[in-house]
Symmetry: C2
């Protein structure tokens, strides 16, 4: 199983020459997802050589500009490139109106099917599922309605045969392999039951990625993200600005680390840094004092997990 996260932008608020607002590109179990889409995301996708054609699902956490102002431009570019595949947009109620109004007034309705999945629930819900991956919302606590997203690999439907082990049972012929791959035990002619686990190789553990931005410190999310392999949790401030974090409903690096610790995740990524901090290493230090496996997101950085 495999999870690869490319950071396209990891700074808060205003785009600057070398500090793009939030966007991430996730490849998980052969599926590709774009998470948030601040202004300039389409250029960042090009910079990091991500094929536009791979993006069929876009998840928008909330309707603050630094998380979605790049969306309408990306959708227009898809159109110019004669995209034909369906595009699914998941985001807060209102996103459809924002996009369709602009497309309508520019008389440039997309030639490809554009499907909106507007979110308004305040409890975690399953919003995407296919044979490879499921995606659930993580209701967050911010100044506007906001969701994080939990991406989980599904275990493979078919197991790998343990060819060496099977060779010990001449009664098992090729025609039985399909059932064994499906997980069924094998019954010999003499009635002996051979447990499936003796005939197959256990699949690797499915991986999961929890994306949580923007949010105040909100331990209610812990049961949802429990045990995630990778957690991105916003850390707009350091503890020196705890008051500001509280009033703006953002988190400090310390709080991000506390959530990581409570949820017992494997690895924490920090981001959405306020531009007031010139040295972002301070975020890593503050978080690592609480949760050791804390890392900084930076533009172009790729986090690759395998199991």
């Amino acid at each position: 199983m495999s999870l690869k996260l490319t950071i396209l932008g990891c700074h808060s608020a205003t785009p600057r020459t070398f500090a793009h607002p939030t966007s991430q590109y996730l490849e998980i179990n052969n599926r590709s997802f774009l998470i948030d889409c601040g202004e300039g995301t389409q250029v960042q996708l090009r910079t990091y050589k991500i094929k536009f054609s791979k993006i069929n699902h876009i998840f928008i956490s909330h309707l603050h500009g630094d998380h979605f102002f790049g969306l309408v431009g990306l959708l227009s570019t898809f159109n110019l490139y004669n995209r034909e595949n369906e595009l699914h947009i998941f985001g807060p109620k209102g996103i459809k109106e924002i996009i369709t109004l602009q497309l309508k007034l520019s008389k440039s309705w997309t030639k490809y099917p554009l499907l909106f999945h507007e979110l308004e629930k305040t409890e975690s819900e399953l919003i995407f599922e296919d044979e490879k991956v499921i995606v659930k919302t993580i209701p967050l606590k911010h100044r506007v309605y906001t969701n994080g997203f939990l991406f989980q690999e599904k275990p493979p439907v078919y197991k790998h045969l343990n060819v060496k082990a099977i060779a010990n049972y001449p009664e098992i012929e090729i025609c039985h392999y399909h059932n064994i791959k499906k997980g069924l035990d094998f019954t010999c002619n003499d009635g002996t039951l051979i447990d499936n686990s003796l005939l197959t190789i256990p699949h690797n553990k499915p991986l999961s990625y929890a994306y949580c931005s923007d949010t105040a410190y909100h331990p209610d999310i812990v049961p949802i993200i429990k045990g995630a392999d990778l957690l991105y949790h916003e850390s707009t401030f350091l503890v020196d600005k705890q008051d500001l974090a509280n009033t703006t409903m953002h988190s400090t690096a310390k709080e991000a680390a506390q959530i990581a610790q409570l949820a017992n995740v494997k690895m924490l990524l920090l981001g959405h840094y306020s531009s007031r901090y010139k040295d972002i290493n301070r975020f890593q230090k503050e978080a690592a004092a609480v949760f050791e496996n804390s890392h900084l997101t930076e533009e172009g950085k790729v986090f690759h997990l395998k199991s």
Copy 2:
């Protein structure tokens, strides 16, 4: 009199790493104007060290994304920077709804006064005037309602005194200077009239800049832009794609030059190049064959005119 034009973006359609969509920053007679605002314009303003605080008037030609998708981000950034000054937006009807919907849904209404001047006339109209500059629309011919803009310096209200000439007339005392600066003639005690032109230095010729993008070849604009010191006329294509220019309602470099020639402007700038052309020098060559003083716009290039 002085006119300084900085090119922030000059390519058509999709933003690329080093090819931003249309935006220009014009300084004319001590006034500053932003013209069009494609995605990434706020970053380009930073790249070329243009102070955000100088922008109080933004002119949007039409509601195709490559001319306005950067606007909402710029307005939001002004807010984050605690802007207090009024900001005036001139653009097609609908622009107010697009911007206000996004600000409403992101719960981030600007703290500074944001004033929309929506345009819907199909004849040239005066849309801005102060003591230094006037701005008129140039109705263009495109797939959606589109205006170019004609920026004209106003002659100074007060003339410069010709101190040497005045010294020849002892009767002219300091208390008379104000009327002479205003352009009045002087009457001596013996009734002789001294023409104002003998007592003042003629001011330099006011300059003008005509911005025309996007548009098909449209000679109707010629009377409006007649004699402009500087004309920017879009040239999305070369003559090899005349058919495409016709169907998409864009112009070729040759057509831009023909307009420049008909309007007897002093200098032509080309831009809005289609990404299909790798060598943009071809635009200059095609235009210069018709109108010699043709030049390419390029990102970061500054055109400075003085009179």
